[in-house]
């Protein structure tokens, strides 16, 4: 897809809002990332004594309710609250008056893995203690995952398209891609796009029983990596047409060039061993952006830290970049924020936009021993000054859903 100098048909990232285990708000989040701070610690949300592992990446000491006004006092799930807080921060970051966000030309495009699982927890807890007749009606209303997007739209008065793509751990990229499509089609003039997930015993139990959770840290690409660490959070980008952003003198973090989707069609939880689906998603993203692999300067990895994901991802990286693969840094911020599920690729897209704007690549922390099966430059342990022009943000999900997002420096 050709891009034009005058900005027509181009999509800019003008605001970033993040609620994460290492910091909330664009500035705090990014300084934590650049410093290599770790947000993983002992799980506080529930009792893990019966679990084989006890660490998680929770958002602590953050009052999401302080960001909620129109919906204040209403029944709103935790994932939606984190999303609203992130969106409020993104809107302010974009320098937009709330009145400009309301209306039919603003879209809401969200992603999630679990939706609002705390309502399932509540449903089951009440069933066990008091019986199903005691479950209040709002537990049922609050649960369906589309309420995350709807609550966001309700809070900010957005009346354009409002959808959630519950495509698990690739959902953030899917959602940003959908909003990108809407803006290019002229369907909306503004979009709040990203993902959110709340910490819950349900996915924690699942990953624990799969043996996928690390016992003390998340160390992607390291030879002795033990696994992933479940987390929670929300990442929201404000997207708008580049020409409009320039006209109003907005700060432009980056430009979205395109994205690619593919499906492994191989296994529900394990990736295709040669990373075939991952390569196809990257290929599609780069092609749609009108580029070739040789123009990519950095990759923000899915990088969960499990032995199999990182090995497959490194294989895909090698297959896609060929002889240049060691020259293209690929780092995983999940080493710091854990796996924030549906929020992950949205928060990682935010990190990409900030890397492009500030000229700094996020590190992969906890890296001690190189793994010959993961022969990549993972930007070990320290953030690195660089001049990335074009980057790829990769995400891979259960169900074999793969999504790659291409972002570029935008010199406004």
């Amino acid at each position: 897809m050709a891009t034009s100098e005058d900005g027509a048909g181009r999509v800019a990232v003008t605001g970033i809002g993040v609620v994460s285990p290492v910091g909330c708000g664009r500035a705090d989040f990014w300084s934590a990332i650049v410093e290599g701070r770790c947000g993983i610690g002992p799980v506080q949300a529930f009792d893990t004594s019966e679990f084989p592992v006890h660490i998680g990446a929770e958002v602590r000491g953050f009052d999401a309710d302080a960001f909620i006004h129109r919906l204040s006092g209403h029944e709103v799930g935790r994932a939606a609250k984190l999303a609203i807080a992130a969106a409020a921060m993104a809107i302010e970051d974009a320098g937009l008056e709330p009145s400009l966000v309301a209306g039919r030309l603003t879209g809401v495009s969200m992603g999630t893995t679990s939706g609002e699982p705390l309502y399932v927890e509540r449903f089951n807890d009440i069933r066990r203690s008091e019986g199903v007749e005691s479950v209040p009606p709002e537990v049922y209303c609050g649960y369906p995952c589309h309420t995350i997007a709807a609550n966001l739209a309700l809070e900010f008065g957005c009346q354009g398209p409002c959808r959630i793509l519950p495509t698990a751990c690739a959902a953030g990229n899917y959602a940003i891609g959908q909003a990108f499509d809407w803006i290019r089609a002229g369907r909306v003039e503004l979009a709040l796009a990203g993902g959110a997930d709340a910490f819950s015993r349900i996915p924690y139990l699942g990953f624990a029983r799969l043996g996928a959770i690390a016992s003390d840290k998340c160390s992607p690409f390291d030879k002795n990596r033990q696994g992933m660490v479940p987390g929670e959070g929300a990442g929201i980008l404000v997207l708008e047409p580049l020409e409009r952003a320039r006209r109003r003198g907005a700060r432009i973090y980056a430009e979205i060039l395109g994205y690619g989707l593919s499906c492994d069609a191989h296994h529900m939880t394990g990736a295709h061993p040669e990373g075939d689906g991952a390569v196809r998603a990257m290929t599609a993203a780069v092609r749609e952006s009108g580029l070739s692999p040789s123009q990519i300067d950095y990759v923000c990895a899915h990088g969960t830290g499990t032995p199999s994901n990182d090995r497959t991802e490194a294989a895909a990286h090698g297959a896609f970049f060929g002889t240049r693969s060691r020259e293209i840094p690929i780092s995983s911020i999940k080493s710091m924020i854990g796996h924030t599920m549906g929020a992950a690729s949205a928060i990682e897209a935010a990190a990409c936009a900030l890397a492009l704007r500030t000229g700094c690549l996020p590190p992969t922390i906890h890296f001690e021993t190189p793994d010959p099966e993961c022969d990549v430059d993972c930007v070990p342990n320290a953030a690195r000054k660089a001049d990335p022009r074009i980057v790829l943000n990769n995400a891979y999900a259960f169900g074999g859903n793969n999504a790659s997002l291409c972002l570029a420096q935008c010199l406004s």
Partner: protein, 400 residues
């Protein structure tokens, strides 16, 4: 070259429904005035009847291998996919086979699988939970399972806009097709019957007190849950015509709204009407060109009244002359699947040049031209409307 309003051709339909499996049985049942309602095994003790797919056995379409890992939505969607792929002729090993994708619209994925997984953790303790039950707890599991079963390695997505998800999936597919990302997509919806959803509908006073779904009942009235899956095989019209594909209908326009006031309790007829007008505008047609109506009325008075109000606002006095049908009387409220069932009904009406009969309706249907017989179309261009009890609204235009 992406063409942003390019019509999308439906070149095949796959259906798993309470009226029967595959589009022929669905069509026969609809036009014979059959009801998919039966004494529900799944919801026993909660309600007496539901629109359940009795004795659902996926084996004839999926074989025996690998079925065990699939939960009910995974099976329903995979069967609908098998049928749609066969209908569309998307089987065999063509160069484009790898690029075929699937987009599933659903409210829950599988709330049964999610609840049961958490329950087992509480009852048996974390140490004894079956890890193999975890993959089905992600909302995109049915789409992932169907992709594995049928080797659909193109775009794979899951979308939720609540009750309208089955129509939104078509819009998502249209967006990808118009942008030239792919040339073939299955899109539609899937939802199973579940006690969890039934409890939710009951607690929120949305269920019919006598287990009958009467569209446009004036109250007290309610809905009856159903289940199933429908997938439409979609291509850009120019590609379908160029290849000589059989075309079941053209998807021309779409309108959506996340809340027309049902969620906030203040019905917004203007916004509801605007949803319809958006669909007409995208299809580049005016209200006078619409020749029939496929209506998503589900028996809940507030939602059905909003639908009538919106239709009156858009069509005025002409409304009483437009043949209309309300298929949920025969299919039930199948949530994420319902939009896809309605879209399928619209395509079948175009094909048959007649609208299926409606089993029953209430006094609040005036001035809609519903009928217990099949009705000829005034013109081969129809409007589907769907106003969900959760506030989501959608409208879609189909034509020859």
């Amino acid at each position: 070259m992406p063409q942003l309003n390019h019509p999308i051709a439906v070149t095949g339909i796959g259906i798993a429904s309470p009226l029967g499996m595959d589009v022929e049985a669905f069509l026969e049942g609809l036009y014979a005035g059959k009801s998919g309602s039966n004494p529900s095994a799944c919801l026993q003790g909660l309600v007496s009847r539901a629109f359940e797919i009795e004795d659902f056995d996926p084996q004839p379409w999926l074989g025996r291998k690998g079925i065990r890992a699939l939960d009910r939505p995974g099976r329903l969607l995979s069967v609908a996919a098998a049928l749609a792929l066969r209908q569309a002729g998307w089987v065999g090993d063509e160069p484009w086979s790898r690029g075929v994708g699937l987009i599933n619209g659903t409210v829950f994925g599988s709330v049964r699988s999610i609840c049961a997984f958490d329950w087992s953790g509480l009852e048996d303790g974390p140490r004894f939970v079956n890890p193999m039950a975890f993959p089905n707890t992600v909302i995109n599991a049915p789409a992932g399972q169907a992709a594995i079963k049928h080797r659909l390695s193109g775009i794979n997505s899951t979308v939720s806009t609540g009750m309208t998800s089955g129509l939104t999936a078509l819009a998502c597919a249209a967006e990808h097709l118009r942008l030239d990302r792919t040339s073939r997509l299955l899109a539609g919806g899937c939802e199973e019957l579940s006690r969890e959803a039934c409890l939710g509908f009951r607690a929120n006073r949305l269920l019919s007190s006598d287990d009958s779904l009467v569209p446009y009942g004036c109250g007290p009235s309610g809905t009856v849950l159903g289940e199933g899956s429908a997938l439409l095989a979609l291509r850009r019209e120019s590609d379908a015509r160029g290849d000589g594909d059989e075309i079941w209908g053209l998807f021309r326009g779409y309108g959506e709204s996340w809340d027309v006031g049902l969620r906030t309790g203040v019905p917004d007829v203007e916004r509801a009407a605007a949803t319809i007008e958006d669909a007409l505008r995208q299809a580049n047609v005016g209200p006078s060109e619409v020749g029939f109506l496929v209506l998503g009325a589900c028996g809940v008075p507030a939602a059905d009244a909003l639908e009538v109000g919106a239709l009156k606002r858009v069509f005025g006095d002409r409304l009483s002359t437009m043949p209309a049908c309300a298929p949920k009387a025969a299919l039930g409220e199948s949530q994420g699947a319902s939009g896809a069932f309605l879209a399928a009904a619209a395509c079948l009406a175009l094909r048959r040049k007649a609208l299926p009969p409606t089993l029953c309706w209430g006094d609040c249907a005036a001035p809609l031209a519903l009928s217990k017989d099949a009705q000829p179309l005034v013109a081969p261009l129809g409007l589907v409307t769907l106003f969900g009890v959760d506030g989501n609204a959608a409208a879609a235009v189909f034509s020859v």
